[in-house]
């Protein structure tokens, strides 16, 4: 009898303790958004990750948040509050982030740039019916999501844009160098298909391991295939080693990559290996100029003075500017429903240091990408020099749009 009493006591004490812990843990939920409180915008970013850090995007969004609150007096008198979560590129952490962000009751997400959005997070955001304004889509799930309103093409446009540029200067044989995983392999394959459809004669895919300690064998393989140009899918973390390996292996043809590794740390520590490399940019202050650039530089210099101005900060600024225009366009209460409705109405947008967003520009396979255009610039003596295409071949005309003398390239044809 004594024995049973002890068991019962232990069981009751455990249950009591657990209940108390549960109530303590769950009691501190987020305060629900009200019409007079701040307008909450969520932002899911991969930051603490060796290969892709979006710390610049966070800093940019926060700089614009301060600008909107201090210089514009908020939106409709309400302050804007950006809540960021770093998923570290990990799917479990992404799920945790998504739930914590949704618990803040955001009216929209802004500038999401994450390795796991497409993997685990997007289904949750879609279920919650919250729009994403401005973003850096990297997966097919994002490219076709009806609640996503990116101002640029993200990863889906940067590589195809390079292919179109290379074809426009007469390159026939290209080497495609990508990481050895499913998602990167899919990008490489789609590029090979695009190359063929653009009339290119040959494309060869080369893959490298995520943690490969040496890129020399890869570079040697690329050199042996004697390509006329290279499209390299590399992040800022790998870029120096890959470019050095190309140089050591004697790959002396045009090497192209995206804006991701176009940052000071890579360019300065590459030992000259980055000289002459072509980068695709979704956003181009040097090409566009004008009032947009003045505002961009003002916001960044005032509210994020320590930040280097990069492709990331430029693209994130365009995302914030788009979010601002959508939120300002909302009539009545700013709620997730009204923001989504306004975003659906605002699919045509003039752009902010970017090519305009045009609803009829989206391709069939990537309906969310309303601005698939990129510019290309070559890194020469410490500067990015925009490329010029003297004469666009007839077959490529649908893929090139020259605005104010600057060619913008797209790798897809509009659905219409």
């Amino acid at each position: 009898m004594k024995h049973k009493t002890f068991r019962t006591r232990v069981a009751l004490a455990t249950a009591g303790l657990l209940t108390m812990s549960a109530l303590t843990a769950c009691g501190s939920g987020a305060a629900s958004a009200s019409g007079s409180g701040p307008i909450v915008l969520g932002s899911l970013l991969t930051i603490d990750n060796p290969f892709w850090s979006n710390a610049d995007v966070k800093a940019t969004s926060e700089a614009w948040e301060k600008y909107i609150n201090k210089e514009l007096g908020g939106i409709n008198g309400r302050e804007v509050k950006i809540v960021t979560c770093d998923d570290k590129g990990d799917s479990a952490a992404g799920t945790t982030c998504a739930n914590n962000l949704l618990a803040e009751e955001p009216v929209a997400f802004v500038n999401n740039a994450s390795l796991v959005v497409g993997q685990v997070v997007l289904p949750q955001f879609t279920q919650a019916k919250v729009a994403t304004l401005g973003a850096w889509p990297i997966s097919q799930q994002e490219n076709e999501n009806p609640l996503l309103f990116p101002t640029t093409s993200g990863a889906s446009g940067t590589y195809p844009g390079l292919a179109v540029y290379l074809r426009s200067i007469g390159i026939e044989n290209v080497a495609l160098v990508f990481e050895d995983n499913g998602a990167a392999n899919a990008v490489a394959k789609s590029l090979a298909d695009l190359w063929k459809s653009l009339g290119g004669k040959k494309s060869s895919i080369f893959s490298y391991g995520l943690r490969t300690p040496d890129f020399t064998p890869l570079a040697s393989q690329v050199a042996a295939s004697k390509p006329e140009a290279v499209i390299a899918g590399i992040g800022a973390g790998d870029a120096v080693r890959v470019l050095k390996a190309f140089k050591a292996a004697g790959v002396d043809v045009p090497i192209t990559t995206t804006q991701t590794p176009a940052v000071k740390t890579v360019l300065e520590s590459s030992g000259g290996a980055a000289e002459g490399v072509y980068f695709s940019f979704v956003c181009s202050p040097t090409s566009v100029g004008g009032k947009d650039v003045e505002l961009y530089e003002h916001v960044m210099k005032t509210y994020a003075p320590d930040r280097e101005l990069t492709g990331q900060t430029c693209a994130a600024s365009s995302g914030m500017q788009y979010a601002l225009s959508v939120l300002q366009g909302v009539k009545g209460d700013i709620t997730k429903e009204s923001v989504l409705a306004q975003a659906q109405k605002s699919t045509d947008w003039p752009g902010f240091m970017t090519h305009p967003m045009e609803s009829d520009a989206a391709a069939k396979a990537t309906p969310a990408i309303r601005n698939p255009y990129v510019t290309v610039a070559q890194y020469k003596k410490g500067e990015f020099v925009p490329v010029n295409v003297d004469r666009v071949p007839a077959g490529l005309k649908p893929y090139v749009n020259v605005r104010d003398g600057i060619p913008w390239f797209r790798g897809t044809l509009p659905a219409s």
Partner: protein, 649 residues
């Protein structure tokens, strides 16, 4: 000619593996522990060196000396504070301790340094040497030469000097060494100091070509262990040859990468060249049986206690009541973390079955969970939830049998390496290849769970997962109490005795792997339904290691251990607690430190505290049926010993 070119270029890759393998062999020869943290020590040392040189302005030569000396002292400290205390512990405890060190170093690097991968300026000349048609950077050649040189020096020291012979002697017979007047502590400390110093040298010379970040060298453990295995963890020169060989083979494999056709599925396609070293490990161990020499096994060590679960009837009822209360009072983020925890508990239960009860070290339980997730992604659109759960568990169970086949020939650390390699192959090949995932672009989506025609919201789904976990937990508890469980423990304790008692050991091992993998597969299926997508990076080798570590802290042979593993699982309640308090970046650091402390204070796991407490309380009340969980050496617990005796009789 192409073959020769790629073989020569593989020298850099091979040199990297060889350098790290030398340290692994040095530590194994001296203490019998495969150091999973060898790459992490190299990584952390590299951060120290480049921090001193680039940020501190210390001359490179002096920075090298400081870094190597610091690493050696860290090796001594780790040995004296952790490994020395575990010298009589089972091999799993010692492996787990090195995993704890890995977590601590990775967590520290992420907390202290910029995590973005960078390429520091190297000290070795980087000009290119033209060898016929091959352009080989000189630093790669020098790294390979350095590995060979160090291999020769270590070989000579180990064979020709009194010190080398003493280190070998202490590994073989510690008491004998003491009798001849040598200090095993001093020799053990020296072994770890040398191992860490070699890791530091590797980190300094490799980082400029492999990149510097928290994971760059840390995650090279599979190819490095492959090289060490080729040397039977014994010969320095063979380790160097093994490292260079694997590097060269991996490099030349690139020549056949683009071959198409069903016949090329083994070597052409996504992840094949990365998985190659893992395949080498599996083939080497399985082909040669018990390959690793038994070092440092003077005492066989006490295995973690596996007490009979108490509250087998009231426990599930209480768990259900508490679980329902939590589910219906939690906010969405905590509810989601709770579901991740419950799925983590399932994977933890699979570890309890295969490692805790059966004694077979499996580091691939998350990989089998991934198989369940993959099956779910392929079937969920067309089949009802219960059927998908059954099929996912069944397929994972079959994979478990395949995974368990090597356990018929090998066990202990050899089996740990085989399962680790299998997990690595799953991560690099199976979960990435569209031929398996059936998703050419993006990730395979999974529809929301529905039962009896009704779509489940998160709360209803949490209730379903809770019920599944309680059912499986009850099954595992009942298994421990059954004759099957007693036989499994007998196998864990002494295979020869179990065979003598008439137990069909291979059949039990395979059944254990099948059951454990089926449970893990079920977890993968539920994780898929929760995430609405098959997310391959939730089932990485690192996730598998993390679950085993957490289960060990909790008590690897107890249901409580599985609960602890679930709470500590990625995305679980512990992660959520850290996230809401802004400490998410310290997850690894806290987990690793917790492990190193817990393994000293409670080698049987934190869950054993309850047992001890209950025993003490009963002692006071004069009702002392249950033995304490820290019995004499060489026994699982008194109850288990008596059970084994009964079996043998």
């Amino acid at each position: 000619m192409d073959l020769l070119r790629m073989a020569v270029l593989g020298l850099g890759l091979g040199g990297a593996y060889a350098l790290l393998a030398l340290g692994v062999v040095a530590i194994y020869r001296g203490t019998g522990v495969p150091n999973f943290a060898q790459g992490a020590v190299g990584m952390f040392s590299a951060y120290v060196f480049f921090g001193l040189r680039d940020d501190g302005g210390v001359p490179a030569g002096l920075a090298v000396v400081i870094t190597v000396v610091t690493a050696s002292l860290a090796g001594v400290a780790f040995y004296l504070l952790v490994m020395r205390q575990l010298r009589n512990a089972p091999i799993l405890a010692r492996i787990t301790a090195t995993l704890g060190l890995l977590l601590v170093l990775r967590g520290l690097a992420m907390a202290l340094f910029d995590v973005a991968s960078r390429t520091p300026r190297g000290e070795l000349p980087s000009r290119v040497l033209q060898l016929g048609s091959v352009a080989l950077p000189v630093d790669r050649l020098l790294i390979a030469c350095l590995a060979v040189l160090l291999g020769i020096v270590l070989s000579v020291v180990s064979v020709r000097t009194r010190l080398g012979l003493a280190v070998r002697a202490v590994a073989d017979n510690e008491k004998g060494v003491q009798l001849v007047g040598l200090s095993p502590q001093l020799l053990g400390a020296l072994t770890w100091a040398i191992g860490f110093a070699l890791a530091a040298v590797a980190g300094i010379v490799l980082s400029p070509i492999s990149g510097l970040d928290a994971d760059a060298l840390t995650m090279l453990i599979v190819p490095v262990f492959g090289a060490a295995l080729l040397a039977r963890f014994n010969s320095f020169m063979l380790a160097v040859a093994g490292g260079l060989g694997i590097g060269i083979a991996q490099s030349t494999l690139a020549l056949v990468q683009d071959h198409q056709g069903w016949y090329s599925i083994l070597w052409a396609g996504i992840g094949r060249s990365q998985a190659f070293p893992a395949l080498v490990v599996i083939l080497l161990i399985v082909a040669s049986g018990r390959l690793l020499p038994a070092r440092g096994d003077a005492a066989t060590g006490r295995l973690p206690v596996a007490p009979l679960p108490r509250y087998r009837k009231s426990g599930p009822v209480i768990a259900l009541a508490v679980g329902l209360l939590l589910i219906y009072t939690s906010s969405t983020p905590w509810l989601s973390a709770g579901i991740m925890t419950l799925c983590g508990i399932l994977i933890g239960l699979s570890v309890v079955v295969v490692t805790g009860y059966l004694g077979q070290i499996s580091l691939a339980q998350c990989a089998t969970a991934g198989i369940g997730g993959l099956v779910t992604a392929r079937l969920a659109a067309g089949l009802p939830l219960p059927l998908v759960m059954l099929i996912a568990a069944a397929v994972a169970g079959v994979i478990g049998i395949i995974l368990g086949l090597p356990s018929v020939r090998v066990r202990g650390q050899s089996l740990a390496l085989v399962t680790l390699s299998a997990a690595y192959i799953c991560e690099q090949v199976v979960f990435q290849d569209p031929r398996f995932t059936d998703a050419e672009y993006g990730y395979p989506l999974i529809p929301a769970a529905a039962l009896f025609g009704r779509q489940l919201d998160m709360t209803s789904f949490a209730v379903l997962v809770l019920v599944v976990v309680i059912a499986v937990g009850s099954l595992v508890g009942a298994l421990r109490a059954s004759s099957l469980g007693r036989r499994a423990l007998a196998i864990r304790e002494n295979e020869a005795a179990a065979i003598a008692a008439g137990t069909n050991v291979p059949r039990y091992k395979l059944a254990g792997f099948a059951l454990a993998s089926a449970i893990a597969g079920l977890a993968g299926c539920l994780l898929g339904y929760h995430a609405l997508v098959f997310a391959p990076n939730g089932f990485t080798t690192f996730a598998s290691l993390n679950i085993v570590v957490m289960a060990y802290i909790g008590g690897i042979a107890m249901i409580g251990g599985a609960i602890f593993a679930g709470i500590g699982a990625a995305g679980g309640l512990f992660a959520q607690l850290l996230a809401v308090n802004g400490w998410a970046s310290y997850h690894d650091l806290i987990g690793g430190l917790g492990l190193l402390i817990a393994i000293q204070l409670h080698p049987n796991g934190i869950a054993s505290l309850g047992h001890d407490l209950r025993h003490r309380l009963r002692s006071r009340t004069g009702n002392s049926k249950v033995p304490p969980s820290a019995p004499a050496e060489h026994s699982t617990d008194v109850a288990t010993d008596s059970e084994i005796e009964r079996l043998v009789r």
